[in-house]
């Protein structure tokens, strides 16, 4: 998401699932929506069958989604940037790019084209394994079917160059002029039900809610919202430095315990709260297991006994039963940025308590309840109101609890084609008030950066987030605001403009809690955040324009020499993170296969919920590894036989071989939902008695490799190496 936000302002899906009905082409790279987002398929298939849209699926594996594709492109894992820059190169060198769109709304185009020109069809073939003729053919398809949409998921992001991949996808859409239009956009399908909302609330170590960051100004903003003294919050921290310093991430928190890589924090981590999060989703999972025994306190809050409850030998673990989300209420944000109210169905079952109640009891005992709940009397509605009060950056402020409930209760009044209510109590509003929802009467923004509509009716330009002018390395200076004459209908300024500030002296549109600034902007027909260009060059990233870099554990020593990874990063979210020192061209000799992981439709995430469901467990009862026929035959492995898979980092799992040509002969695929077995041994007797999952299996993440994104530190689970032997 960092790559996307750094291109045009916000890191979220730009259009909506329903809007794919208007696509003339669907390009899906690193997504298996048929299993991960099955109900979204109706819109993809609508585009395919009604619009005759080509559905291009780019994936190392012939997935269930690929089975629905018109064009399947098999790509070598971790080479998305090379392929997409190759497409861009083809599009531009044939003159198929949208010149007017680029002139008016894009920055850094010539600089980007220069980099892309390296990726000729032949170079792309060498890196990605995609035939040169296919690169040319797909580029032409995309040029002749507009508007097209680009969809991706974790297959695009879980790489050491994940944030280059996502930027390349964005640039592709800019070059084609597919942004800000119905049927176009970058439609990033998010995973869990509320991953968009939880990201917006910034349950993240680098930001406060609403992407405000960790600078003093951000803290002061939220202190005003919370109605607490800035100095009191400061006094809660070890020192001011740690208030502004990014914390450990989910990907590598355990290094704060194990310290296999050097940490940059004054103390090791000694206690862990794991609240609604699966431990078996971490790559190099054995390290998480090891950390559990070093911690002094582990608190697991979950509706089911998760994988972690069967790990560890120390008496340091508590299991707290929270209710499911059907036993409480609150809002959530779908992948299409839509708010919905999840009404409570029943009271918490057994002795479980809902999340809010557990948090309240904990905070009370830790001694800061009076300050924490200062504005919160009615739960959860007063919390929603506090969120609305402070989260101005992404326009949560108009999505008041009463409005969200009204939408959910009247969902039948919305048109499936436009998502606009036809009459009824929500007349003229878009379903779920897709953010930004700027005011208490704003209808929501169904398509981001759409300059065909007035801002008050859901239109927007690109966000002015990166200054107003830039001088590139080659000396060229460019205005970063949109060109003359390019603005939303009704805008008082006919062209680019910077963000709004000083309407209320000393504040800007993000920090003016009276919201006068936002209202003033809207009344002038303008976007509070300005009207700028999307950028192809991100001068704060190590690769200013996306370039290919080989995965840390690459099967191609020759390409490591040509496209080496980054230098090591000594303080990457408080831990030394290896890049160059981890990239070893010899590794492939012992570990000749590439490992990728993914979902199955019957299970979800770490699988505690779905493997605790007897029906789903019956449908998909077993862990397996997909292995190509030719590979299996060469290794003497029969379909259904047990095999050992080993990673260069020391992890090993014993799983059943599924011999199939869904994967090519270099690749092994593993579903990642299983747990309860570890390195060939069952952990069943370690769960609380009677609460063991119906099905267990080895966790794929025991053998996923070392490797993290250079910007976000997302783990590289889609491009490591492994070896395979019959068990």
């Amino acid at each position: 998401m960092a790559g996307v936000a750094n291109t045009w302002g916000y890191g979220a899906m730009t259009n909506s699932l329903n809007d794919i009905r208007h696509s003339k082409l669907v390009f899906m790279i690193g997504s298996n929506a048929a299993e991960a987002h099955p109900v979204a398929m109706q819109y993809i298939l609508h585009a395919k069958e009604v619009n005759n849209a080509p559905v291009i699926v780019v994936d190392p594996r012939f997935t269930k989604l690929a089975a629905k594709a018109t064009d399947y492109v098999r790509i070598r894992p971790g080479t998305d940037t090379a392929f997409v820059m190759g497409l861009i190169n083809q599009i531009v060198s044939n003159g198929w790019h949208d010149e007017e769109f680029i002139r008016a709304r894009v920055a850094g185009f010539p600089e980007m084209v220069k980099v892309a020109s390296h990726y000729t069809p032949e170079v792309v073939e060498d890196i990605t394994g995609i035939p040169a003729s296919e690169v040319v053919r797909i580029a032409k398809l995309m040029a002749t079917h507009r508007p097209g949409t680009v969809v991706w998921c974790m297959g695009g992001t879980q790489h050491s160059i994940g944030s280059s991949n996502t930027r390349a996808f964005c640039i592709l859409q800019l070059v084609l002029g597919n942004m800000g239009v119905s049927g176009g956009g970058t439609n990033i399908f998010r995973g869990h039900d509320n991953v968009q909302g939880a990201t917006d609330m910034c349950v993240l170590s680098h930001s406060l809610p609403g992407y405000y960051g960790l600078k003093d100004g951000s803290w002061k903003h939220w202190c005003r919202v919370w109605d607490v003294d800035f100095d009191w919050i400061k006094s809660r921290f070890h020192s001011k430095e740690y208030m502004n310093k990014k914390g450990f991430t989910l990907a590598r928190w355990y290094e704060g315990v194990n310290q296999d890589d050097k940490i940059t924090q004054y103390t090791p981590i000694k206690a862990l709260i794991q609240w609604g999060c699966a431990g078996n989703s971490n790559s190099q999972m054995a390290k998480v297991k090891k950390a559990m025994d070093k911690l002094e306190l582990v608190v697991i809050v979950d509706p089911f006994a998760p994988a972690m409850s069967a790990w560890g030998d120390k008496d340091n673990v508590y299991l707290l039963p929270c209710s499911s989300q059907y036993e409480t209420s609150g809002s959530l944000t779908s992948t299409s940025r839509q708010f919905q109210w999840r009404f409570k169905v029943v009271d918490p079952v057994y002795e479980s308590r809902d999340d809010y109640a557990i948090m309240a009891e904990l905070v009370k005992r830790l001694g800061f309840a009076d300050k924490f709940y200062k504005n919160i009397k009615q739960v959860p509605e007063d919390i929603t109101r506090e969120i609305c009060k402070g989260t101005l950056t992404i326009g949560y402020n108009g999505a008041l609890p009463e409005r969200i409930k009204k939408h959910t209760l009247n969902w039948h009044t919305f048109d499936i084609d436009t998502l606009e209510a036809k009459g009824g109590p929500c007349d003229g509003e878009y379903y779920g008030l897709p953010w930004p929802c700027w005011t208490e009467t704003h209808p929501g923004t169904p398509i981001l950066y759409d300059i065909s509509k007035p801002v008050a009716r859901g239109g927007l330009p690109f966000r002015a987030r990166f200054g107003t002018k830039i001088t590139y390395k080659d000396g060229r200076t460019e205005n970063l605001l949109a060109a003359e004459g390019v603005a939303n209908p009704g805008s008082k300024v006919k062209g680019g403009y910077p963000e709004f500030k000083d309407i209320v002296p000393g504040t800007n549109w993000k920090t003016d809690l009276s919201q006068k600034t936002i209202k003033e902007a809207i009344s002038r027909g303008m976007a509070p955040f300005g009207n700028a260009r999307a950028r192809c060059v991100v001068w704060t990233f190590p690769d200013q324009v996306p370039v290919h870099r080989e995965p840390l554990h690459s099967p191609r020593p020759d390409l490591i020499a040509k496209y080496p990874t980054y230098a090591d990063k000594p303080d990457h979210y408080r831990v030394y993170t290896k890049f160059k020192s981890e990239q070893n061209p010899e590794l492939v000799k012992k570990f000749p296969f590439v490992i990728i992981t993914g979902r199955m439709v019957e299970h979800m995430g770490g699988g505690a919920e779905t493997r605790g469901n007897k029906y789903l467990s019956e449908l998909q009862p077993e862990m397996y590894a997909e292995i190509n026929e030719r590979t299996a035959n060469n290794l003497g492995i029969m379909h259904g036989q047990m095999i050992w898979i080993e990673s260069p980092d020391g992890g090993r799992i014993k799983v059943k071989a599924k011999v199939t040509d869904r994967v090519d002969e270099h690749t092994i695929f593993l579903p990642f939902h299983f747990a309860g077995e570890f390195e060939g041994k069952s952990l069943m007797d370690r769960y609380p008695k009677g609460l063991e999952p119906y099905v267990t299996g080895e966790s794929a993440n025991v053998v996923t490799n070392y490797g993290y994104d250079i910007i976000t530190q997302i783990q590289a689970t889609k491009d490591g190496l492994c070896s395979v032997t019959p068990a």
């Binding site: 991960a36 018109t70 998010r190 609330m201 919905q340 057994y350």
Partner: protein
């Protein structure tokens, strides 16, 4: 274009091959076949079928005194609508929401069994603590008192950054917000969740 071909396999060295036939044709032949099958089975099983239909009609009647609650599936980010039927505080049945503007009555196998999230016997039933390697039931008060005391002790000895908090993309916006706010008030940025991975 979509109907004409298609599946272009990009495995080097393999020729492109066509794998789907015209879907219209396929559908038509399927309909013919199923019509024939229906005719046969109706003739043969008519009495059974009649009984089944009436049983079905009865099954569609609401549970006495029940209410219907609109809610949202907890699995993926599509956000499908669910209509839950609740009788005397018990979730007795779920229905698809055919009028939901995104899911339009669609469900995957997980969402179709949303009710099992509440009815599963595998749900954690009370707070537990591991003692001597065995899981032991404890009260909420004991659990929370002990956890809070230990957290305060660690905070005192090692500082607030000795705690790491992994929050969730599976809770409401309000709860996600409270998780982030908790870390802020505790005094650490060591908080993260699934969006990172």
């Amino acid at each position: 274009m979509a109907r004409k071909k298609i599946f272009n396999n990009s495995i080097p060295g393999k020729r492109s091959r066509r794998v789907t036939i015209n879907p219209r044709m396929a559908r038509r032949s399927f309909l013919k076949l199923s019509a024939a099958a229906a005719a046969v089975s109706t003739a043969a099983l008519a009495p059974t079928l009649t009984r089944k239909v009436s049983a079905q009609t009865k099954a569609k009647e609401p549970y006495p005194g029940s209410k219907k609650v609109k809610t949202i599936c907890t699995y993926c980010s599509v956000g499908c609508g669910i209509i839950a039927e609740v009788q005397n505080g018990v979730w007795v049945r779920q229905e698809v929401a055919t009028d939901h503007p995104v899911s339009r009555g669609g469900h995957c196998c997980k969402g179709a069994g949303a009710i099992d999230m509440v009815t599963s016997e595998k749900r954690l039933k009370s707070p537990m603590k591991r003692v001597g390697g065995k899981w032991q039931k404890i009260s909420w008060d004991q659990a929370l008192d002990e956890i809070a005391a230990k957290l305060l002790e660690i905070r005192e000895q090692d500082g607030p950054d000795a705690l790491h908090f992994n929050g969730s993309a599976k809770v409401s916006n309000e709860m996600a917000y409270l998780q982030r706010k908790f870390a802020a008030f505790w005094g650490s940025n060591n908080i993260d969740h699934q969006a990172r991975i």
